[in-house]
């Protein structure tokens, strides 16, 4: 009897408990507004010490013949609890997503992370752009020493000794350790030395440019004692002045645009003959656009509409003779230009000093 009574009581508790869980199911979860609260509510029912778990522990005390049926009911309830829980979880997740998607927006104006302003120096950038054009035209790019013999810097390039042509290039000389001046070693005054170095090193055909720093004893508003140049030359059989014009015209057009006019006019450099200078249409007042008034007022070209950009010419036979090439067999052309000026023109830099002062405010501008 005690056993029957016990079974009855257990059955009663089981039935009541199950009904209670079923009844509170909806409310228990609906009230939870966070995932945390929901999981706690769930633990009260399904957790190790939860109500449903407690009910299942009654199972051995239930009447044997009903255990199977009661077990199935309990499992069904458990499944419903799980179902309700999942539904509620999903609703909460959805609500959270809704809140994220409609909530406060990011401050998209804040800077990107880990991005700082690095820049190539305007001279480097200009050298790079000029170099790329010449590479595309089939030229090699080579290097030469900055401290060189006067033989390479002047004599072999046809500068006569004691001639005013060397005035154009007042040189820095070196002091030997014993204090004497070596009159035959200079900081190169032009990258034109590349002609000598390359012609001595390799046989024609040659087409080479050399960018680099050069030095002259000049220091004023428009001159810096160190500045950058690119010199280039080509040597082969049958090269003509027409080829010189072709290459340099292509160069200017690639760099400044196809619409820019160019003109060649005679000039003098000891290492070329015939020698010339190349003027390009002023890129500030753009005279080819027909606004004559703008050109008249243009300070950059002083109203001429032209800007001098480089010196050039056919390689002088004395240069070939100096490096042991036969001038009756080979001909060639050469050219040289100041990079500082081109960089200044391209970037609207007004003072050459800015290029060597390394003011970070300037360096980060371009």
């Amino acid at each position: 009897m005690a056993e029957a009574t016990d079974e009855g009581a257990a059955l009663e508790r089981f039935e009541a408990g199950l009904a209670d869980v079923e009844a509170r199911l909806a409310d228990a979860f609906e009230g939870a507004t966070t995932e945390q609260a929901l999981r706690e509510a769930n633990a009260k029912i399904l957790g190790p010490s939860g109500e449903l778990t407690g009910l299942l522990k009654l199972m051995p005390r239930l009447p044997k013949d009903r255990r199977r049926e009661l077990g199935q009911r309990a499992n069904a309830t458990k499944a419903r609890v799980q179902e309700a829980l999942d539904a509620r979880l999903e609703a909460l997740a959805r609500a959270a997503r809704e809140a994220e998607l409609t909530g406060p927006a990011l401050d998209v104006s804040l800077p990107g992370r880990g991005v700082t302003r690095g820049r190539l120096h305007p001279l480097s950038r200009t050298i790079r752009e000029l170099t790329d054009v010449f590479l595309a035209l089939g030229f090699d790019v080579e290097d030469a020493p900055e401290i060189d013999l006067t033989q390479n810097c002047f004599d072999r390039l046809g500068f006569p000794p004691d001639h005013p042509a060397t005035d154009m290039q007042d040189s820095f000389y070196l002091r030997a350790p014993d204090g004497t001046v070596d009159p035959e070693v200079v900081l190169r005054t032009h990258t034109t030395t590349i002609q000598i170095h390359q012609m001595l090193k390799r046989p024609p055909p040659l087409a080479v440019i050399c960018p680099g720093a050069v030095y002259r004893r000049d220091d004023d508003a428009t001159h810096s004692p160190m500045f950058a140049q690119i010199d280039g030359f080509a040597v082969d059989e049958g090269l003509t002045f027409a080829h010189l014009k072709g290459v340099l015209t292509a160069f200017v057009r690639r760099l400044f645009g196809d619409e820019v006019p160019v003109r060649f006019r005679p000039s003098y450099f000891p290492f070329v003959e015939p020698g010339g200078e190349l003027d390009m249409g002023c890129v500030f007042c753009r005279p080819w656009e027909g606004d004559a008034e703008r050109t008249r007022a243009c300070r950059v070209c002083k109203g001429t509409g032209w800007m001098e950009i480089l010196g050039c010419g056919m390689i002088h036979p004395v240069v070939f003779e100096a490096v042991g090439l036969d001038p009756s067999r080979y001909s060639g052309f050469a050219f040289g230009m100041g990079i500082d000026r081109i960089a200044m023109l391209r970037h609207g830099i007004s003072n050459i000093r800015l290029l060597y002062e390394n003011d970070v405010r300037f360096l980060s501008q371009l």
Binding site: G118, S124, D140, D148, P164, A207, R265, P266, Y268, V360
Partner: protein, 832 residues
């Protein structure tokens, strides 16, 4: 070179506009860099005649001048001390005139008197530098009252500023330029023939010796009618003996006498002409020498004959240390390489450079010795450079004047001096020219012209062009020509020089523009330049700004930065600040950092890729390309700073740049030898594959302190050659395939003494002979609570893999145990 448009038109006979002539000169290779206008405006400025001069009551310095302006009389107040007497002519600016300085002229009342206009000075009209008062026209000056001053005095002109190349001495005078103007317009050029003096000293002596230059050219007898003979002045010579002791330095020297001059100001036209060309007018003798220089480009000199001792002239080299005072008042000392003009008593001029103070023309000079010479250009240049004296004269002689221009210049000077200063010329001048200089002959094949230019130039065109510039052509062997270049063109010496003359004449525009068929060599960028570019780009991509510093620094810069002070020294630096070639990029970058902090920059992140110069013991120093990085100040965080840059930022930056550019990985080890510019406890040697490539570290705080830089700077520098060598040794990276079986990892933390480097622990881990070990990665460094003082914890993740099988936990645990035990034992560590 300044050149007057009006004068060029006169000499060339080409009557073309200022712009047209300027443009064509430029295209001919005589680049007109600027054009200065004279006499523009001046619409109401006229010549006027003074009719009366009266004082202004109560105004001492003013006079009331009545002038006739061509239409009527008017009164003007004038403050100048030199108002001429009635009959004199002046220049009047009428009300309504606007002067070049911007002054507008209107009627005004001064001391109760109406002044209707202004009498002008040369300065006010911008036509001269006269300071003595108003411009007073002399007897010989043109201008009727009422005539516009502009027209009467020929004030309208343009002066070209020509950037003349040093090969064209012929264009350092207007005649040479006029020849080019004629060439530019395709007109024949007839050089002017100098008139001869109208007054001669009468003499019975037979003067026509071998060395004499007659002033009257028998070939042009035209002006003989007007010739006046004047009796010689007592005790004044007619010819001065000349001795050339150094004929290689002075191939030709002519001296001519003009007697009885009256030194006075030159007429307006001459003063104005010189003024336009930037030459100060002095007196009628000196101005003539300057005019001839501007005209022919041949410098000449006038001596006061009374002060030429002997009188005789000796052209000789100076004795070492010989001294003389030059015209500019300087006492100068000479070397045995300097050429002097001497008289019977000693030096009177530095040949071709500057006259001496003692023999210059003075107000009381009555007799003049005109010197016209040809000096060796190199000799003049050396002397001019040695004395630091660059004059209009040396400028021309060192470029080479025309030795055959001597008679022309002598006649022109004598004739002008006799007519302007009232002198009488000797019938002949002495002209010592022992070895005449011939014309240079150049062999030219006319077909060569077209072949070099890339354009077919007909033979007739070649001939025409060469003849137009003054060459004479005669046939030579075969198809060739023998071309004689004129003596005024010392730049013509080779066939290519003649080809340029042809190209210039037909115009560079006429030459076609075509690309050559250059077969690319395939070399492209030289390897070191390619590497340099990649490094630069990688550094910039990383956020660094590229600096470019001067290659020369001061010795104290090197010392302050504690970089090697044994440097290549310049013999002639512009200043002590730039006296030696840098041995390191550090001084430049520190300077840039300092500059940045002065501009309140809180972050400095710079790099430079450039050469350093190291004495080699040979004649030429070693030049080495280096890459240097300098970081200082705030490390940029997302917003604002994230701490300050330190050693590890520099290391990371350098590693990243070197990896991105060259695919090299670097390591840093404690240096064997400390770099004195770097912090002894925070610096390292940079190695790639075990080889030293550079240094890295915090710049020594004493160095930054000494520079006044209150930021710590971290710095790294590597040698490009060393990197390239490492890259070459490494070769092309090879793929190793992907693992087929999964890996398994274990973490371990060791408690180690603070001074033990993580690298040593990591190396020990790697060195254990454990077949399953794949990689080791440090993931935490900890010091603080829980650890004894003087120790730190290093935590590593160790990855194991068997390439042939899936690992079991048991195998991994076993291997890990062995590894940890082995390292602990080896380094005496404990597992935390």
């Amino acid at each position: 070179m300044l050149a007057s448009h009006r004068w060029l038109v006169e000499l060339s006979g080409v009557d073309a506009s200022v712009d047209d002539i300027g443009d064509r000169l430029t295209r001919l290779g005589l680049e007109v860099e600027d054009t200065i206008r004279f006499g523009a405006g001046l619409d109401h400025v006229v010549v006027a005649e003074v009719r009366a001069v009266a004082p202004v009551p109560d105004k001492d310095k003013l006079s009331l001048v009545t002038v006739f302006d061509g239409e009527g009389e008017r009164q003007v107040i004038c403050g100048a001390p030199n108002v001429p007497a009635p009959g004199g002519r002046v220049v009047l600016a009428k009300p309504g005139a606007e002067l070049p300085g911007g002054m507008a002229i209107a009627e005004r009342k001064v001391g109760g008197v109406v002044s209707s206009g202004m009498l002008c000075s040369e300065t006010e009209l911008a036509i001269g530098a006269g300071t003595a008062g108003i411009l007073v026209l002399g007897k010989g000056d043109p201008g009727r009252p009422g005539q516009l001053a502009r027209d009467a005095l020929g004030l309208e002109d343009a002066v070209y500023e020509i950037g003349l190349t040093p090969n064209r001495p012929d264009c350092l005078g207007h005649i040479g330029l006029a020849r080019e103007v004629a060439l530019a317009f395709g007109e024949p050029f007839r050089p002017p023939v100098p008139g001869f003096p109208s007054r001669f000293v009468s003499t019975d002596a037979k003067l026509r010796g071998a060395d004499e230059l007659p002033f009257i050219d028998d070939a042009q007898p035209s002006a003989v009618d007007t010739l006046t003979l004047v009796g010689p002045r007592p005790d004044v010579p007619i010819l001065v003996p000349i001795t050339i002791e150094a004929p290689d330095r002075c191939p030709r020297y002519a001296g001519g006498v003009v007697q009885g001059v009256t030194v006075a100001p030159s007429p307006f036209w001459l003063r104005f002409r010189l003024h336009k060309l930037g030459v100060r007018a002095i007196d009628n003798v000196v101005d003539v020498t300057n005019l001839v220089l501007q005209e022919l480009g041949h410098p000449i000199h006038a001596f006061d004959l009374a002060r030429v001792r002997g009188p005789r002239v000796v052209v000789r080299l100076a004795a070492e240390g010989e001294r003389m005072a030059t015209l500019d008042g300087e006492e100068r000392s000479f070397t045995a390489d300097d050429l002097l003009i001497c008289d019977g008593g000693g030096p009177v001029a530095v040949a071709g450079v500057m006259g001496g103070a003692d023999s210059e023309i003075r107000k009381d000079t009555r007799d003049v010795l005109i010197e016209v010479a040809y000096f060796d250009p190199r000799s003049i240049r050396r002397t001019s450079r040695r004395l630091g004296l660059h004059t209009d004269s040396s400028h021309r002689f060192e470029r080479g004047v025309d030795p055959h221009g001597v008679p022309w210049a002598m006649r022109r000077a004598a004739s002008l001096i006799s007519s302007l200063a009232g002198g009488a010329a000797a019938p002949t001048a002495r002209d010592v020219y022992p070895t005449p200089i011939g014309e240079r002959a150049i062999a030219l094949r006319p077909t060569h012209v077209g072949r070099l230019l890339g354009l077919d130039v007909p033979e007739a065109k070649v001939r025409g062009a060469l003849e137009a510039v003054g060459c004479a052509i005669s046939p030579a062997e075969g198809e060739g020509w023998r071309v004689s270049a004129p003596t005024w063109r010392p730049d013509l010496g080779r066939p290519e020089d003649l080809i340029e003359e042809v190209a210039r004449t037909i115009g560079y525009d006429a030459i076609p523009t075509e690309l050559p068929r250059v077969l690319p060599s395939g070399r492209g960028l030289a390897p070191n330049l390619r590497a340099a570019w990649r490094l630069r780009e990688a550094a910039a991509d990383l956020g660094l700004l590229e600096a470019v510093n001067y290659s020369f620094v001061s010795r104290s810069d090197l010392e302050a930065a504690r970089v090697p002070a044994e440097a290549v020294e310049l013999a002639n630096p512009l200043s002590e600040d730039r006296a030696v070639m840098r041995t390191s990029l550090l001084p430049g970058l520190l300077d840039a950092a300092l500059r940045a902090t002065r501009h309140q920059a809180s972050t400095v992140a710079l790099f430079e890729l450039a050469r350093v110069y190291v004495p080699s013991g040979q004649r030429l120093p070693t030049e080495r390309l280096e890459l240097a990085i300098a970081l200082a100040g705030d490390r940029p965080g997302h917003v604002g700073a994230d701490g300050s840059y330190d050693f590890y930022d520099a290391k990371g930056a350098l590693a990243s740049v070197v990896d991105a550019a060259l695919g090299l990985s670097l390591e840093t080890v404690r240096p064997d030898v400390l770099d004195p510019s770097l912090h002894p406890r925070r610096s390292a040697e940079v190695r790639v594959a075990g080889a030293r490539v550079g240094v890295i570290g915090e710049v020594h705080p004493d160095v930054t302190d000494a520079l006044g830089l209150d930021l710590r700077v971290v710095y790294a520098s590597v040698s490009l050659d060393a990197l390239l060598e490492a890259a070459g040794a490494r070769g092309v990276p090879q793929a190793s395939g992907l693992p087929r079986f999964p890996s398994s990892s274990r973490d371990v933390a060791f408690t180690v003494p603070s001074e033990l480097e993580a690298g040593a622990v990591e190396a020990a881990l790697r060195e254990v002979d454990e077949a399953l070990l794949e990689s080791v990665q440090l993931f935490d460094v900890y010091t603080g609570p829980g650890l004894a003082d003087g120790s730190k914890s290093l935590a590593y993740r160790v990855v194991y893999r068997d390439p042939e099988a899936t690992l079991t936990d048991k195998r991994v645990d076993k291997a890990h145990g062995r590894l940890v035990t082995s390292v602990c034992k080896r380094l005496g560590l404990e597992v935390r």
